[in-house]
């Protein structure tokens, strides 16, 4: 690398990518506890995911459009939080969370199922008519996911890498508003991804805090910056459960304000595996 580095001040967005990272010096034993705790977190969220999906799909089967619309985003949140684990089951991930862009024939594609197929019906076509089969399929898939995760041994690299993977999700599909293009509930998913990432970071933070306090400080400040902007768009500032305004209402400036901290979080958290010797 250039020896000409003039100066690198660490501030909120500061990122010293040029520094040579310290060799990881983490005892693998110390990973056991945070991994176990993370599994509890995931199972907890899955539990909630199952019960919310039950209510959501029941509303569709009962033809209650308004209720189904209202439950769409609050149900997905649980999935968005645990995506690093959920995605390990590619078949289920595709049938639960694929987007129309994943299919050459888009919405018309017979393989297109899951949340976003339902989103299209509920928000674009404004109907529950004919969606019962998709609802039933979703419920089956979600139950299947829960039982598969229960039996899963969590791979540490996957878990730790998940913190960055979730921020990549945000950077790639949430900031642009393309994830929930009909319901415009992107901020819910956004919050879900951020929560999931932050949880992983919090669990492993004690293992890196001593060695790299500047890193920890920067990550926390950037999470806080994202949280600030999110809070601004909540129906109730301090209550994520109360939900968010439509992503269409998010100003261009704020969309941009997300990109800064989100990108730095993605870069920073991408080094977490290295810091833990994974």
């Amino acid at each position: 690398m250039s020896h000409r580095s003039l100066f690198f001040a660490a501030s909120v967005f500061g990122l010293m990518v040029l520094q040579t990272p310290a060799q990881a010096d983490v005892d693998p034993e110390t990973l056991v506890e945070p991994i176990a705790e993370y599994k509890l977190y995931v199972l907890d969220n899955l539990d909630q995911f199952v019960s919310h999906t039950e209510k959501f799909t029941q509303a569709i089967e009962a033809g209650d459009l308004e209720r189904a619309q209202a439950l769409y985003a609050p149900t997905r949140v649980y999935y968005e939080r645990i995506e690093p684990i959920a995605e390990l089951f590619a078949d289920l991930d595709a049938s639960i969370d694929a987007r129309e862009d994943d299919y050459e024939n888009g919405v018309e594609d017979p393989d297109f199922t899951g949340f976003h197929r339902l989103e299209y019906g509920l928000f674009k076509e404004q109907t529950t008519q004919g969606f019962t089969p998709y609802a039933k399929q979703l419920m089956t898939d979600v139950n299947d996911l829960e039982s598969r995760v229960q039996d899963l041994t969590f791979p540490p690299a996957q878990v730790v890498g998940g913190a960055a993977a979730l921020m990549e999700e945000v950077a790639a599909t949430k900031v642009s508003g393309e994830e929930d293009r009909y319901s415009h509930t992107d901020l819910w998913d956004f919050q879900g991804n951020v929560d999931g990432s932050q949880k992983i970071f919090e669990l492993f933070k004690p293992l890196v805090a001593e060695e790299d306090p500047a890193f920890v400080d920067r990550v926390e400040k950037n999470f806080a910056a994202v949280e600030d902007t999110l809070a601004h768009y909540r129906h109730e500032t301090n209550n994520p459960e109360a939900g968010f305004v439509s992503y269409e209402k998010v100003s261009e400036t704020d969309r941009r304000a997300f990109v800064g901290p989100v990108t730095v979080l993605a870069e920073d958290l991408a080094t977490l595996r290295g810091k833990l010797g994974l």
Binding site: M1, S2, R4, S5, L6, F7, F8, A9, S11, V12, F13, G14, L15, V17, L18, T20, P21, Q23, A24, N222, R256, A257, V259, G260, P261, T263, V264, A266, E267, A270, T271, R273, G274, G277, L278
Partner: protein, 438 residues
Amino acid sequence: MSDLSDNTPRCPFTLDRRRFLQGLGAAGAAAGLGGSAWAESRTDATSSHDVTGAPVSTTTQQSHPFHGRHQQGILTPRPATGMVVVCDVLARDRAGLERLLRILTERIAFLTQGGTYPKRDPSYPPADSGILGPTIAPDALTVTVSLGASVFDERFGLADAKPKHLQRMTGFPNDALEPTRCHGDLSLQICANTHDTTIHALRDIIKQTPGLLMVRWKQEGTVPVMPPSPDTPTPSARNYLGFRDGTANPNTDDDALMDSLIWTGDDPDEPNWARGGSYQVVRIIRNFVERWDRAQLAEQEAIFGRRKESGAPLSGGSEYDKPNYNDDADGKITPLDAHIRLANPRTPGFEKHRILRRPFNYSNGVEANGQLDMGLLFIVYQADLEAGFITVQKRLNGEPLEEYIKPVGGGYFFTLPGAIDEHDFLGRTLLEATETDV
């Protein structure tokens, strides 16, 4: 001015001879033009069976100095590829902006001179994209940093230091500007002998500036590579309308001329810090090439006021001869609305409206109607935006060429003065000029 190892500034890109001739031979034969000149020099390129052997270039070690009064990439001979990447600045305060400018300076100094990236513990992401390997060659890379008018808003306290003519580009009558391809806080003009070198530089810069820069739009382009020519000056390369482009540019070897036409400095109304900078105009100008290719040759030549094959003015002579409008007041030879005659009527006093054009051809994809989406990535530099591009474009409004072109994007920027030495950084004078004692 530059460390170019070979001395053919108008054609700094020399491919491996065998492959080079292969391309020419194939083109000539395919078009049924395999005349004797080609036949003599053509060599058999199929003798090697190394299907995926890397194409070879002998110019990867060319480098242009980074430090100096002016930035590189303006008077630097235009290489075969270039792109403009326009970003928004995400930094929220002056400290962040300064950090961005320092990082850019440091990265450009490294990238344009070449060097080796450090090896990392494999459990970390690598230090760079690696697309050119661990050691990068300069490959005549230049990166030129310019600022848009929006940077001079309330965010960074720069409002009082805005260059006098810097403004948000406004549409001209023939424009169909697409908002997603217009304006922006900061432009990077990245040029090199090969496309991958520019891409590598861009990815390095993006990786090193998270949270500081966000790409808004980008346009890549090329210049056709020509065989070394015995003629001097070398004939100009052609644009996608098939005409030689660059012929009548002001002479870049004339320092006094450059000081008056290209470098901002003498105007007492310009802020002091801007000395040595230049106004950069970028325009993405779509060419309707299918339609153009169906137009009469005579019409094409009348539209530009030059011969297509040679680039000579319609008034006679060869490419670099001056067009003669004096004996042609009615435009019988060179139509009064010919592109070059409108762009520069060569009347007394018009000298101050001359601009330095440094464009690239671009080719993006296909329109819904099946027509090719290609055109000119038009880049110009001038000491005074108003006297330069804006005046000339106003004169060109309504020109016959408009039937075949459509500007769809671009922006106005101010190219920062150069970084003098290793202790300097791009934009330092601007930040110093706007410092407030707190």
